[in-house]
Symmetry: C2
Subunit: 124 residues, 2 copies
């Protein structure tokens, strides 16, 4: 079970990494731009921001390392697009984790392996 726990926490780490990457206004905007235009070279993305090229390149690196975008070298430029598999995975994770705590009657135990010893509805 250690491997499963490790795998779970690796997935969780990846999920948190993605959430953190998206939790920045500039990077979120870059994702929107890429979603709208499907593909952009770095300079085009730079043009949509008030930031320096090097700063945007850094943000692109964060998004790339989080598995949210892909970059393909195209001549002297790099062509970026959304990492569809990564975003799908993220969406699946969000759907898997978050609804479980919001769907009324279903016990929330599935949200974690640990067993809760509290009866529901104590306060709040």
């Amino acid at each position: 079970m250690v491997e499963r726990a490790l795998a779970a926490s690796e997935a969780e780490a990846r999920l948190v990494r993605m959430l953190k990457a998206l939790g920045n206004p500039i990077r979120f905007q870059i994702m929107k731009t890429l979603a709208e235009r499907r593909t952009c070279i770095t300079q085009e993305i730079v043009a949509t921001t008030p930031l320096a090229q090097s700063t945007v390149s850094q943000h692109l690196k964060v998004l790339r390392e989080a598995g949210l975008i892909e970059g393909e070298i195209s001549g002297p430029a790099t062509c970026y697009c959304i990492d569809v598999r990564g975003v799908r995975w993220l969406k699946d994770q969000i759907e898997q984790w978050l609804p479980e705590c919001c769907t009324s009657d279903v016990p929330w135990g599935a949200f974690s392996e640990q067993e809760s010893q509290r009866q529901p509805g104590r306060c709040c």
Copy 2:
């Protein structure tokens, strides 16, 4: 349309705020704990972490201000639970934004108001 644009960017700011709040391992774990136990007082959450009480209190504040959890004063303690409406809203936003860039043929224009002047599939 200014109000709509403002409202949209306010919603976006809220969404980014939520993503940022979740994009921290400790805070993500707190959400998991609350989902599993449904309600916790601060001290119980502190006990699940290696951190000082004041630090956890700070993280709870971030989650609260992001609209992800609710705190209700209960005697000398504060009882926390997940803000179901907030989490539902987050999930709706994620479903609304992210899938649009991943569902194959559908044009991605709906992802943003701006009009793209690029034909799809130039690279990547």
